[in-house]
Amino acid sequence: MTAKPKFELKLGLATREAFGKALVELGRENKDVVVCDADLSKSTYTSLFAKEFPDRFFECGIAEANMTAIGAGLSASGKIAFVSSFSVFSMNKGFEQLRVTAAFPNVNLKVVGTHSGISIGEDGPSQMSIEDLSLACSLPGFTVLSPADEVAMMALVWAAAEHFGPVFIRAGRLKAPIVYQPGQRFEIGKAIQVVEGSDVTLMATGLMLAESIRAAETLEGEGISARVIDLHTVKPLDRDAIAKAASETRAIVVSEEHLVDGGLGVRVAQVVAETSPCAMEFVGIENTYAESGTPEQLLEKYGLVASNVLEAARRVLKRKKPG
């Protein structure tokens, strides 16, 4: 019998709510923290910060481009500005401003995109951010964080504030299964091995981490030892953890609630190609926009549940080359 910890994945806060709470704590600690929102503060939970620190909260109205550059101006004057909206608006409507006013001059701006992926559900594809990781990672100098649960979000909001430079943090709408114990340490750029394993590695970010853990448990029941790694930092990637997994397990599945094109998986594949090439499979959204539905229906329909990770693991194990 293995001595692996059994995960009981209870639902915790949505990562957007954890973000809002973390921001308040951060605001109490650091008077330089300021927050901008674009008429979505009740949904992004920056309303919590606004309530406690009205002087340091700037409601920008439905004008994301302006908000992003205002945030950059605040940060250029020594503040630590968090600008927040739905991820689809932060990234797409603010992209040019992120490029010119934050990335290019290396301004200390923090961008938080909530309601990422397709699990926003009923609102449908115009509100669904499935390109945000790709866009954020394309910006030179940006750090890109994608926490899986409330513990990770709380810790990474603080880490983002302590890190000098532009950061994008991806948050979700749904209550997120709790993966981590309170007190878990998070370091930007350091992946966390959540489950030990030696036959195959399941890498994931955001809500796909819990699905990967569930898949690993099923595999364990079949006598397959699956390692699960949380890539909470999508950029810069933890090259050492990826290279180690590639050389030790020689089979990798990467799962993300994002387009496969330009997403986490292809970024991991680059590292694998440069270190220890091995068989890989990718779980993500395949070259399409989703539709309206409940989050559960959509995740099932677009292939983002544990059974999809499991199938990918079985495929990759068939292709795995002998060591």
């Binding site: 002087d55 700037f58 109205g61 302006n66 550059a69 950059a72 101006g73 401003q97 290019f104």
Partner: protein, 273 residues
């Protein structure tokens, strides 16, 4: 640097600035002379008279901020900053060349004393709002000046910013529109007319001043008025002439983005002697 309020002295600095602009762009063999020349008096009046800043201490927290939102006119900014002592005058003619601090558009990585990297139009006023908000939070006397091009304000983001600043009573913010009437493809009125421009800014809630943007006393007066107006930001519509100071460049769309030939440069410098 020696600051002065004497219009004659400022006029002499303006003439020298124009000479640098012609020399730099001629040496670079590319660049934007027209919109650099139209903004000379605006920048000279700000840097040599109006703004509180210290080239020996460029990161002084309470300094006034300047953003050239129309970043393509950077030769005028480089010339003025060099004359103030921020950057070397003797390297101005390296403009646009590999390794030069004088990049094709303003770049804080090369000149840390710049407040912003600009060049993609429409973003400077929002940045300035962020700086003005930070100054207010810090209870700093710092004021923020943003120079916009006329063509630039066709960008939608400018009007997002124009809506925001008066609503937040940012009386420490001044937007100056260098209204030289010409953009790359031709005359502004033939491309996407801005009129009635003064009414537009006024209706958005700005204190609006319309002045001759080449008159140093008018600029001094406008900046003084802007400083005394409480509760709203000021927009200065500076009526200017594209290519001002060089007869064959004035009101000539060709010189929006074309460097003078050596012969043209020689004639220009004779006119500016």
């Amino acid at each position: 640097m020696q600051k002065t309020s004497d219009p004659a002295e400022l006029q002499a600095i303006a003439k020298q600035t124009r000479r640098y602009i012609i020399e730099m762009i001629t040496a670079a063999k590319s660049g934007h002379p027209g919109g650099s020349l139209s903004a000379v008096e605006i920048l000279v009046t700000l840097f040599f008279d109006v703004m509180r800043h210290d080239p020996a201490n460029p990161k002084w927290p309470d300094r006034d901020r300047f953003i050239l939102s129309k970043g393509h006119a950077c030769p005028v900014l480089y010339a003025v900053m060099a004359e103030c002592g921020y950057t070397p005058v003797d390297q101005l003619n390296t403009l646009r060349k590999l390794g030069s601090i004088y990049q094709g558009h303003p770049d804080v990585r090369f000149i840390p004393a710049l407040e912003a990297s600009t060049g993609s139009l429409g973003e400077g006023l929002s940045l300035g709002i962020g700086m003005a908000l930070a100054a207010r939070l810090n209870q700093s006397p710092s004021r923020t000046y943003v120079v916009l091009g006329d063509g630039e304000i066709q960008e939608g983001q400018v009007w997002e910013a124009a809506m925001f600043a008066p609503y937040h009573h940012l009386d420490n913010l001044v937007a100056i529109v260098d209204y030289n009437k010409i953009q790359l493809d031709g005359f502004v009125r033939d491309i996407l007319d801005l009129e009635p421009l003064t009414d537009k800014w006024r209706s958005f809630g700005w204190n609006v001043l319309e002045i001759d943007g080449h008159s140093i006393p008018a600029l001094q007066q406008a900046f003084a008025t802007a400083s005394s107006v409480k509760g709203k930001p000021t927009a200065i519509i500076a009526q200017t002439i594209k290519g001002k100071g060089v007869s064959f460049m004035e009101n000539n769309p060709k010189f929006h983005g074309t460097a003078p030939t050596d012969d043209e440069a020689k004639r220009a410098l004779q006119e500016l002697a």
